[in-house]
Amino acid sequence: MAASTGGLNRSRPTTAHAIEATGLSAGFGGREVLQDVSLTLKAGEILCMIGHNGAGKSTLLRVLFGLHRPSTGGMRVFGETPSNYTPAALGAAGVALVPEGRGVFPDLTVEEIFGLALWSAGVPKSGQRERIDEVLDVLPRIKEFRGRRAGTLSGGQQQMVSIGRALLTRPRALLLDEPSIGLAPKLFQDLIRPIAALRESRGMAILLVEQNVREAFAVSDRVLVMRSGKFIFEGAPSELDDHAKLMELF
């Protein structure tokens, strides 16, 4: 990024915590997937969340972004309680979600996807060029396929577009749901490193749900391990260097 803090909304109050969620429970069809989960995402940190399939990681991200209503609990975003728990309200509060899978519409071009994101975020026409340039500074390869339909792009390119779309909203807390799925390790490194660098340049907090533990730990400050809807471990990535301990937790 040309301006290191260009993405920050300086008028907002600063706080040590990007997201503070307490006592969240949520489920589907009578089955409780999250059980009284509390989580703190500190401003400017990368928090990695791992766990086996069905542990509740994606559900937690959906709850944190207002896509799924919790049965109990609440949250504060940058020290404030959101006006309501909808994606629009949480997006306005500075949260963005890159969903699991390819978060793009296959029949839309990359430019249309970016235009849609800017419109939904209420960015005026006059400010859109600057936002797009900011994203292209972070993910310059998008320039090569801006005019193409997302459905014709490779998995890595689609993931890049999905993340770029989220960055257009200048989030202060980015929720990434398994961005490495279907990507070669090298490709994932190329993708995650510039995003992780935004922690330094913008003070952006990142909650990273990943199965690719090695690469995720390399950029993370803290790790949470989830099992059956509860956190069973919290600590530094180095504490899980011991492979046996990691396997035990899984």
């Binding site: 994606p87 969903p99 978060g103 029949d107 839309l108 800017l118 939904s120 975020a121 909203t169």
Partner: protein, 289 residues
């Protein structure tokens, strides 16, 4: 000469079908709701224009009132009929019966208020003049073709250039993902119903000024819209509009070989032909849902 005359008549009918089919296809494509009451929006719009004309309103006001009435009906159906059914995960059959029930109720109410039988707007624009030997054309032909053309181009520009139109295309592809972008799928669904229903109004006005309306005309319009959507390729607006035009022309040209009462059946013969030989339709689009 008879062929040319029937072709011109078919173009006018086709323009009406193209508009209603494009509206139905827009609603179905974006929301996946099988809006069987789309023909009722057409009927309401037509009778509102008839009322406005009879009451001596300026024609532009009648057109606006007609468009507004169609939009309000579409929005009311989305909010009060389809959304509650979807909230309770009602089946396709529930949606179909509910919409069909509403259309029957509205048909009877219109019959009670406006009387049964055909009603037309008497205007010089409907009077035919001989433009070539034995070829008679009314100004309404050119008006209906121009209206359909302009509205289709405007709709296409809206869907490709305006973010709200792009959002409707996105909704058609993945309604869950649209929420991740911070957009409301419910709000976009209302927009699809408003625009799709509005497209029925000009078609209804042209019909009121040419062949006339009766309270049951919506059923025919709805069936043609569904046929055109399938023939054009589900998910394709240009396909629906083109198929609507084709069906209008086919109905008219069929009069060279069949009696008038069989003309409507021709649309469905075309439909069956497509179902058997080209089930994806003219511009078949692979569905992502």
């Amino acid at each position: 000469m008879l062929f040319l005359q029937l072709l011109l008549n078919g173009l006018q009918t086709g323009a009406i079908y193209a508009l209603t089919a494009a509206g139905f296809a827009l609603i179905f494509g974006a929301t996946k709701i099988f809006h069987v009451a789309h023909g009722t929006a057409f009927t309401i719009a037509g009778y509102v224009f008839l009322f406005a004309w009879g009451a001596g309103w300026p024609s532009w006001l009648g057109v606006l009132a007609s468009i507004a009435a169609a939009m309000v009906f579409g929005i009311v159906m989305e909010r009060l009929v389809y959304r509650p059914i979807q909230r309770h995960e009602g089946s396709f059959f529930t949606v179909f019966v509910a919409a069909f029930g509403v259309s029957i109720v509205v048909q009877n109410i219109i019959g009670m208020i406006a009387g049964r039988g055909f009603a037309t707007v008497d205007t010089p624009l409907s009077f035919s003049a001989e433009i070539l030997p034995e070829i008679f054309v009314a100004p309404m032909l050119w008006i209906s073709l121009a209206t359909a053309g302009v509205l289709f181009v405007a709709l296409t520009l809206f869907l490709t250039r305006h973010p709200a139109g792009v959002a409707l295309r996105a909704l058609a592809q993945n309604p869950d993902l649209i929420r991740t972008y911070g957009l409301s799928s419910n709000g976009l669904s209302v927009l699809a119903f408003a625009i799709g229903s509005a497209l029925a109004a000009p078609a209804a006005i042209v019909t009121a000024m040419t062949t006339g309306l009766n309270e049951a005309i919506g059923h025919h319009v709805m069936l043609i819209s569904i046929a055109a959507t399938i023939v054009g390729g589900i998910g394709s607006l240009r396909g629906a509009a083109l198929a609507g035009m084709m069906l209008g022309i086919a109905e008219s040209l069929a009069l060279t070989v069949v009696d008038t009462q069989w003309a409507e059946a021709v649309s469905f013969l075309v439909l069956f032909g497509f179902i058997i030989f080209r089930p994806a339709g003219i511009f078949g689009v692979t569905q992502t849902r």
